[in-house]
């Protein structure tokens, strides 16, 4: 990665050097908007986030940035407006970050009252349902840019909610398909104590069953994370990991630790020399800074220039959500939220999100179908669906809950 960063710096420098001595610079500033001669139509979007206090991450190397999510939304807004400049559409983003649930509910009700209907949300699942179930929100579209909760795509699904990031089920299936290809059939599952960890582990169990991967040991990690922080803490961690992995033979250690409390401290410490995957190690994800295929380099560079840091998965979720609204508004040439909402859910909708194929929303649960990256911290390992996992309509529908199995009944 230093090479790439250097390249970007160099190319920026070159651009500046090239641009400076050039005169006269012919610039077509007043561009004709032949696609739409009338005055610019306004498409307002609201970005609603709940500021979540995260529990302390195991690694202090990767502190969550303050503008995580928002920065991705802003890059997408600029992308929408460049196109909007040609179509005569003007996108705005009202960014609301609430300190607590009540504040988020109040801000949401306030924006609904003022007529806003296009929302990008970055809030936990229970709050998302409260927002979506407000009677005034019935005619709104909420694109959930942050949650991976399977419940939101099943019994908790809502007609007015769409999800852009892969569900936990999709992530787990992506990993299990890869294990099938590698013929790594036996895994040990180690899960943390948070509610999210339990849900992640449950998704792994379901996926393992689906792809006939045997879970030879299924254990809970109960070691107090605070003890790792003490001087000589690594001795204790080594002993603990060696103990919990003793007497089990497996191909891969799958870890469920969504808050980064212990997952990074499993590698090299287990009794057998086996790789780690799941929330750490080889991670199924929608975005990672090591991904630069199918044009992703452009988005990585664009984001880096705008935010002065690498794009995270949460930034990418917000980028996709704002771009999805943009794409629907531009394709329908409408600023009517009802028209935009209907188009988002129609088979015509396609999002180009640097995954080498068009992405669209599953009609049965509002989930964006998409390939899922498998990456370790320094390299892209693979992209699922794996070759050979076939589907009648979309191969990406081999990831996650397909229509026949869905327990979502949109009302």
């Amino acid at each position: 990665m230093p090479g790439r960063a250097l390249r970007i710096v160099l190319s920026l420098t070159t651009a500046l050097l090239l641009a400076a001595p050039l005169a006269p610079m012919a610039r077509a500033d007043d561009q004709a908007q032949t696609a739409s001669p009338e005055a610019a139509a306004h498409v307002p979007l609201v970005y609603l986030a709940l500021a979540v206090k995260r529990s302390f991450p195991q690694s202090y190397l990767d502190q969550p940035p303050d503008d995580e999510g928002v920065a991705g939304a802003n890059v997408a807004l600029a992308d929408n407006n460049t196109t909007g400049h040609f179509t005569g559409q003007d996108f705005t983003l009202d960014i609301v970050t609430a300190g607590d649930e009540a504040g988020a509910m109040a801000a949401f009700a306030d924006r609904l009252g003022k007529g806003a209907r296009n929302f990008v949300t970055d809030v936990p699942a229970p709050l998302l349902l409260k927002l979506a179930d407000l009677p005034e929100a019935r005619t709104a579209t909420l694109i959930d840019a942050a949650d991976s909760d399977d419940m939101l795509r099943a019994e908790g699904c809502r007609r007015n909610v769409l999800h852009v990031l892969p569900s936990r089920a999709m992530r787990a299936d992506s990993l299990m398909q890869y294990l099938v290809v590698k013929n790594w059939r036996r895994i040990m599952l180690l899960s943390g104590q948070t509610e999210a960890d339990k849900l992640y582990a449950e998704a792994m169990r379901r996926a393992a069953k689906k792809f006939q991967i045997k879970i030879v040991a299924d254990k809970a990690w109960t070691f107090n994370p605070a003890e790792q922080r003490a001087d000589t803490g690594h001795f204790e961690v080594n002993t603990e990991v060696a103990n919990i992995t003793q007497g089990v033979d497996y191909d891969l250690l799958v870890v469920a630790d969504e808050e980064d409390n212990f997952g990074d401290e499993l590698g090299y410490r287990a009794t057998l020399a086996r790789p780690v995957a799941g929330t750490q190690g080889l991670v199924p994800t929608a975005w990672t800074r090591v991904y630069d295929e199918t044009g992703a380099t452009q988005l990585q560079n664009r984001f880096l220039r705008a935010a002065h840091r690498w794009m995270t998965e949460r930034d990418y979720g917000a980028w996709m959500a704002v771009r999805a609204f943009g794409e629907a508004a531009i394709r329908t040439h409408s600023s009517d939220p009802a028209v935009i909402g209907a188009y988002l859910r129609s088979p015509k909708f396609e999002l180009a999100a640097f995954k080498g194929e068009r992405l669209s929303f599953r009609a049965w649960d509002g989930q964006l179908r998409q390939p899922v990256l498998l990456a370790d911290p320094r390299s892209l390992v693979s992209i699922s669906p794996q070759p050979g996992f076939l589907h009648e309509f979309f191969e990406t529908d081999t990831l996650g809950v397909d229509q026949p199995e869905s327990t979502c009944h949109l009302k």
Binding site: L18, Q298, E350
Partner: protein, 324 residues
Amino acid sequence: MPSQMNRGLAALCCLLVATGAARADHLYVSNEKDNTVTVVDAASLAIVKTVPVGARPRGLLLANDHKSIYVCTSDADHIEELDLATLTVTRTLQSGPDPETFALSPDGKTLYVSNEDDNEVSIVDVASGRISGEIPTGVEPEGMVVSPDGKTIVNTSETTSMAHFIDAASHKMIASVLVGSRPRFAAFTKDGSQVWVSSEVGGNVSIVDAASHKVVHTIAFAIPGVPAETVQAVGINLSPDGKLAFIALGPANRVAVVDTATFAVKKYLLVGQRVWHMDFSFDGKTLYTANGVSNDMSVIDVGDLKVTKSVPVGHLPWGVVYGP
């Protein structure tokens, strides 16, 4: 040993040029990963030389006088001119950041370059090698083409999903036409009446009427046994007689042959993996494709509509151009 052989062949070819002997035509293939251009003898299909160029070579164009080719070296942030007599890079031209594809004005004096990272098209004066102007366009400009009369430039922007029609004299945007997602390539018909635009993510080709700026037809592709998601339209080459269009379909590993009168797909030709760009021989009887994943070049007999050969080239071949 192979490098010695290459040197020998290169020396031989220079000798032939120096003594004024007739030289066979050649194919020039840009290898994105190797930072080289592979030179292939069109008659024997043997590799004549592998020429080192700047970082990440992609777009290629033959100069009007047929004495050199221009190479977009994207990561080097400039254009290189490769002299065909000596097979060496003789000069660099400004291009703006991250040049990917470009087009040459019919008089050969101006290059229009898409700067993928910069939302701009750079106008480059070929004689001086300097940028004479910049035109703001959509997000991630990619495809570039100039109309046969030289009056109109068309640029496609990938994230904006538009074909932008620009007046070549005033540099003003005349029209922006919404096409399929992630448009990558644009080609004018010989009479200048239509612009064909390929969309990689949309997986289709939009036919835009050059006068009304309206999409008059969209060509979709369906290949039995090939997943729809892998059909990603990229390069477009219209046959010199104007009757057929060849459309590279990326990871579908096929080139679609389309009847330009009816827009019907006549045939899908199986070529190498991830076919990007193509070029015709001067007589129009042969078409060559650069295949990005299988690291080879496929040779298509245009009369028979058959793939006759595959020639291994460098790593990640991206562009191919036919020249002397």
